[in-house]
Symmetry: C2
Subunit: 444 residues, 2 copies
């Protein structure tokens, strides 16, 4: 079956991410989608630069309308941003019967009602997972995963720039202006950062989540929007002393009289997971009456994280267009006829082949030379030591004890190697009890 | 349009949760699904008790096969558990052309290949969001949200019982046996807890996630399964001293030679979010090559959290059966014709109507009576104080300073009230600078 044909409007950071990820993972993506997904045309202001990104096989044009009008294009991906030309192009794509995928939160938060109505009338989809919280599939979670619930509230860190600035202000004790300049230098904040630091970007995203959660139209004009520009380092410090962190939260909440819709800096108890979301990361906490509290965490921006969301939308649309009705989403994500081949290519490994690091505890005789003997065995086997903790004997066994605990953290080692070394250590007469071995995962 | 008709096999904890949530949220759920979802028949061993749960309108039978065979039933929800009769019933439901929703991880981890093949051949769906991590929509995230990615690894806390036990062992310094008995007394562990504490339940769930992530068949028999029964309090303490927490993790990882599939206790750096998932909560960390690290957190068990996942599957199936192809999932989750009515019923509130708590910082003259004056204004307005922090003047303004900072945390207050009090406080001659007001969110 021919690949589904995609046209990109704009090929900046996100667009090139979409192109590269689709290329790199094309086998897996088509095994999941049941069909290939191919970028066929790109519209870009700078045609030559765009052509150098996508190579000669992809047609690059300067006129976005040529992409929309092309009869071979099934899906138009709008990555221009803003509410000007992007709005006109999205409406034209809809009118031309094309599905649209967009990362444009401003457009949908402000003109969503008009755009979604046009799409419904024309029988096409406007998918926008990438518009909120980058690669985190939060739109899907709210729209599909939590459909059983009366949603009670959403609170999210949905702007990475401001979260990065707040993390830096806290870590370094610096005031807003100074950290902003640093963030701009590092590329975490734009030259004109006002949409981010004034809370507008977060409010766009919050408006979309609020509409989905509560079944109301998008109403960005009614959001309370307050940024972080007036925050000072001293308030961050005082908050810390009181057991809180300050985060720029988008909060939408259902109360008896209606819906709260507000973006502003907020004190959050330091022990909450969301209070510990640092740097440019995003996180959204959703409370539902059945599910209770759930949290979604990940990168909220960047080329490939955002591309991950754009492509998820492309796969959703492709699945809807291609498979027979009962199998749009395969049970195990991949088309079933591809599973057994994959099993041969990707066998489940025996535990002895696993590479990880280890915590070892040895109950040993408290005498000179024991540690040397143990570490020599590890060295002979090529196991590299990360840390050693040796307890005082009386701390472990009480006063006058002649036993102690030796704790060793290793670097990455093959499990089979570790089994052999443990057997050797266990045979030492100075090792008095079965050795405890617990695996250690960095989870980078 | 007639509601879609559901038959429940089993109505214990999860089944009654499904029944109650469907009843309580029926308006919202049908606005989302485009159609009502109705439990029409229930099969239960104890018919009288089941009848008392569902009331007289729902037919309760002792014979599960009567539910499967009933021509009016569109979807069969299997909540019996285990691999015995449940397997036969699921296969019979499929053969009868019914869609199946199940929370049965053991069944799918062991017999998934056979069951999914039967479902595909018959053209029906077997949905199982509730089988992994309860209310967290992790199956949907892996199967749809992250389709762009080559998944690199998954590491999850997917068994609440063992995480509760480990949290208690750490908090109280007690050994496994003692905490297990306490957990059984509190209902966090079953009378026969072996599936949980030996890691089998976690391995069932991990097997399903691994298959979805890597595009391989379910292969529970190849999983390495190790529980927490041999963990001692002393290792938890030593790990803590070294900067780690011990969690029972299910880990599946793609490496060059194949796939790792292993459940065992693991040391995790204490600063990782997943290391701070406490009690009976679940969390899953997924690494994809495009999206980077994402994390999903929530309740992994319990009546209504699990029901939330079962109903999400019911809505998915209903949407697929009902709506026109392009609008299976409405843009804003709810059927568009219902949005404007909802806007009237649920207006976005002005900020003055928002109720939250506050952090206030007042730069004041360092003299007697200032705090009394400020707190009197708050008291007069009915604002209740949670905490006060007053800094020493020389700490704030340097030696010899006559100014200091007064920080007040309030309890919940209406924003309009707070605006008025702040204006009054601002007018005090002892208040020297614009008052800082930052909202505070408990995020319970």
């Amino acid at each position: 079956m021919q690949a589904i044909q995609v046209g990109l409007l704009g090929i900046g950071t996100v667009g090139s991410g979409v192109f590269h990820v689709l290329q790199r993972n094309q086998d897996e993506i088509s095994r999941r989608a049941g069909r290939g997904i191919e970028i066929r045309m790109v519209a870009a202001r700078n045609v030559a630069r765009a052509q150098s990104v996508v190579g000669a096989q992809v047609q690059v044009v300067a006129d976005a309308r040529a992409v929309i009008a092309h009869p071979g294009i099934d899906i138009v991906v709008e990555l221009i941003g803003g509410c000007g030309i992007a709005k006109a192009l999205v409406l034209e794509a809809i009118a031309a019967g094309k599905h649209v995928v967009t990362a444009n939160k401003a457009l949908l938060a402000v003109h969503g009602t008009e755009i979604f109505a046009a799409a419904s009338a024309r029988g096409v989809m406007v998918a926008f997972e990438a518009a909120v919280a980058g690669g985190i599939p939060i739109i899907k979670a709210l729209r599909e995963g939590l459909t059983a619930n009366r949603i009670q509230s959403i609170a999210g860190i949905v702007n990475g720039t401001t979260n990065f600035i707040l993390s830096e202000m806290r870590d370094k004790g610096l005031d807003f202006d100074r950290v902003l300049r640093e963030a701009q230098r590092l590329g975490y904040a734009e030259a004109d950062p006002s949409f981010d630091i004034e809370g507008v970007d977060a409010a766009h995203k919050l408006t979309l989540m609020s509409a989905i959660a509560f079944g109301i139209p998008v109403q960005f004009d009614k959001a309370h929007v307050e940024g972080i520009t007036r925050l000072s380092a001293i308030d961050i410090r005082y908050a810390e002393q009181l057991g809180y962190r300050i985060k720029l939260l988008g909060i939408t909440k259902r109360v008896d009289e209606g819906v709260e819709l507000r973006v502003h800096p907020s004190l959050v108890p330091a022990k909450r997971l969301i209070a510990n979301v640092e740097g440019a990361m995003n996180a959204v906490v959703v409370q539902g009456d059945a599910v209770g509290t759930t949290l979604y965490y990940g990168k909220g921006a960047g080329s490939e994280p955002t591309a991950s969301a754009v492509i998820a939308d492309l796969v959703d649309i492709t699945r809807l267009h291609t498979a027979d009705p009962e199998h749009r989403v395969p049970h195990l994500a991949f088309q079933p006829h591809t599973l057994s081949d994959a099993m041969d290519a990707l066998p489940v490994l025996p535990m002895s082949a696993v590479v990880t690091s280890y915590y070892l505890r040895l109950r040993v005789v408290d005498q000179a030379g024991v540690l040397a003997r143990v570490t020599a065995l590890l060295a002979d086997a090529g196991v590299s030591i990360d840390a050693v903790l040796q307890r005082a004997a009386d701390e472990v066994g009480g006063e006058g004890s002649t036993q102690t605990d030796l704790i060793i953290l290793t670097h990455d080692t093959r499990e089979g190697t570790m089994d052999a070394v443990i057997a050797q250590m266990q045979a030492l007469p100075t090792v008095l009890a079965p050795i405890t071995r617990i695996r250690k995962e960095a989870l980078s």
